[in-house]
């Protein structure tokens, strides 16, 4: 059960604390201070990750960017999870009735167009920005966990203890919100955590299309994209942010995997 799982709560707490810690640390290291005399310094003891074309300290920029990417990802996850629980729960409980048909149709609609293309289309029209990007991602990212919750609810709805609760005279709403949805939360949460690497990847994709964080704000995707054009002058510029991103993504993936194994819903 959700409330007895200490590991899960620690994991979720870390997901909130670490990004903001990194953001503050990065801010303190002055990611925006320009000194062109120090441009294109390779990694050294003074600048562990080198400097960029404007002489900005890449270490500070990468720390800040990691914090930024992670914190907005956490926000997107929150939006997506809320939407998934509400809409997926309703669709599962109203299985094969009109609300379920409408919600399922919307889910199929969002699935038809590649995720990133939707976000690109939205931000071609509206002013881009990394916080807005993640709100849009959250508004689109609920579909996969919602599908899972729907399937889970359909399954639980027909199980014996729900029938028993009905016999005891609990109302429909009580059964839905107190028995069925809590039981389906865990698989949905896990599927969302598995989704984090992809979310961070989407940010990189958006930066490639010029729609992620706007300069001078550094985000991981922005740093990789900018570094890529300077690959011949400074190999560390694209490589180190990519490496950091890989480490972050694989850490989260491994932690989620362990969590999944600890509960019975692992992949």
């Amino acid at each position: 059960m959700l409330r007895h799982n200490l590991t899960l709560w620690i994991f979720l707490l870390l997901l909130i604390i670490v990004p903001y810690g990194l953001l503050m640390l990065g801010e303190a290291l002055e990611p925006y201070s320009i000194d062109t005399a120090l441009a294109h310094q390779p990694p050294s003891t003074e600048f562990p990750f080198g400097t960029d074309a404007l002489g900005r300290d890449m270490f500070a920029r990468i720390i800040y960017a990691t914090g930024l990417s992670l914190s907005v990802t956490a926000q997107a996850l929150f939006i997506a999870f809320a939407l998934a629980v509400i809409l997926g729960g309703i669709a599962g409980y109203m299985h094969n009735r009109l609300p379920d048909q409408i919600i399922s149709w919307v889910i199929a609609l969002i699935y038809i167009v590649p995720f990133i293309l939707f976000v690109v289309a939205v931000f071609a029209v509206f002013e881009p920005g990394i916080e807005r990007a993640y709100i849009a991602i959250g508004c689109l990212g609920w579909v996969a966990p919602a599908r899972l919750i729907r399937a889970e609810v359909i399954q639980i709805r027909t199980s014996l203890f729900v029938v028993a609760e009905k016999a005891f005279g609990y109302s429909e709403r009580q059964i839905l919100f107190r028995s069925i949805i809590p039981l389906s939360l865990m698989p949905a949460l896990l599927s969302l955590l598995y989704f984090i690497p992809e979310l961070i990847g989407v940010e990189v994709g958006l930066s490639f299309f010029g729609l992620g964080a706007q300069p001078p704000t550094p985000s991981l995707g922005r740093l990789i994209y900018e570094g890529l054009s300077q690959i011949y002058t400074g190999w560390w510029l694209p490589l180190i942010p990519s490496g950091v991103l890989l480490i972050v993504v694989s850490t989260i993936y491994a932690a989620t995997h362990k969590l999944g194994k600890a509960t019975r819903y692992g992949r």
């Binding site: 199929a108 038809i112 690109v120 289309a121 931000f123 299309f209 694209p238 991103l245 993936y253």
Partner: protein, 309 residues
């Protein structure tokens, strides 16, 4: 048959939804196409005239009707930047992306088949498992960056860019396509391993072994057909990933496909082109999903049977 017709209708309704959504997005949105085309110095009269010509001064509902009728004639309008026909422009770029994606798919298919066979013979051979795990978490752009660095600077033996120039050939696409293929290979190998482990425990698999059939025979005749549908479903799901990865790899390796077109359309706020790309993608995936449903029935008698019952 009736089922297939119904699912085709469902797909059409989804397509209509996407078209309406993109239409609303690009028309209710701020920014006047007539103003963008003529620039800030044009007189108000000229803008008004162009608006009437484009039909953007009429009510939204009427515009939508007009838009749908035009789409039925495969007319996606003209680019608001240079007036080229969007359909021609997109189809050309789409062909390049399809070639890249298709090549990647082919590479992924062949390699994951070989790896699967390998995994089947040595299910606990740890290097393969570790490699697939790494492959699953490595984002495509990262492998793209690594490969670009490796072959561009340290090991310049394979042409890195240059597809689309005069004497280009599919050789120039090999490297980018292999990069795109990495993720699908890893995912498919791990899914396949899971499915095979499941099926190996079944009675029919055990009896096939006990009847003395060779491992190769059991793999191809007993196991492969029973997991074919879930494998195919996995491939269909991966296709959209392959597509998006192709866009990004096109940007890294400067291949003139949909990816760079997308970037220029975003920068110039060329809405007809963007709209065309989204709609074409939606068409492609609706068609793909519908065909895969058809294929599932064709391949797996169990689905046909349950559908009838």
């Amino acid at each position: 048959m009736r089922q297939l017709l119904l699912s085709a209708l469902y797909g059409a309704s989804l397509l209509l939804g996407v078209i309406t959504l993109t239409f609303l997005l690009f028309n209710v949105a701020p920014g006047d196409p007539a103003r963008v085309m003529l620039g800030p110095n044009a007189s108000e009269d000229a803008v008004q005239l162009l608006r009437a010509e484009l039909g953007t001064d009429r009510p939204v509902w009427e515009q939508l009707q007009h838009h749908l009728v035009r789409l039925l004639r495969l007319d996606l309008g003209r680019s608001i930047i240079d007036g080229r026909l969007v359909s021609v422009e997109i189809i050309n770029k789409f062909r390049t992306t399809l070639t890249l994606g298709g090549l990647a798919l082919l590479i992924a298919f062949c390699l994951s088949y070989i790896l699967n066979l390998f995994v089947f013979y040595l299910p606990n051979f740890s290097p393969v498992l570790a490699l697939t795990k790494i492959g699953v978490i490595t984002p495509t752009f990262f492998s793209g960056v690594i490969v670009a660095l490796l072959f561009g600077i340290f090991l310049p033996i394979v042409p890195l860019t240059g597809y689309g120039s005069t004497e280009s050939s599919w050789i120039h696409l090999m490297l980018p396509a292999s990069v795109v293929a990495l993720y699908p290979i890893a995912v498919m190998t791990s899914i396949f391993r899971e499915k095979i482990q499941e099926t190996l425990g079944r009675d029919y698999a055990r009896s096939a072994f006990s009847l003395g059939f060779s491992r190769l025979y059991v793999f191809h005749v007993t196991l492969l057909p029973s997991v074919a549908v879930s494998l195919l479903a996995g491939w269909v799901n991966l296709l959209s990933t392959i597509f998006v990865a192709s866009f990004i790899i096109e940007v890294i390796f400067s291949i003139p496909g949909v990816g760079p077109l997308l970037i220029s359309a975003i920068q110039q706020k060329d809405f007809p082109v963007l709209q065309g790309i989204v709609i074409l993608n939606a068409c492609f995936f609706v068609l793909l999903n519908w065909m895969s449903e058809f294929l599932f029935r064709l391949i797996d008698p169990r689905i046909r049977h349950y559908a009838k019952a």
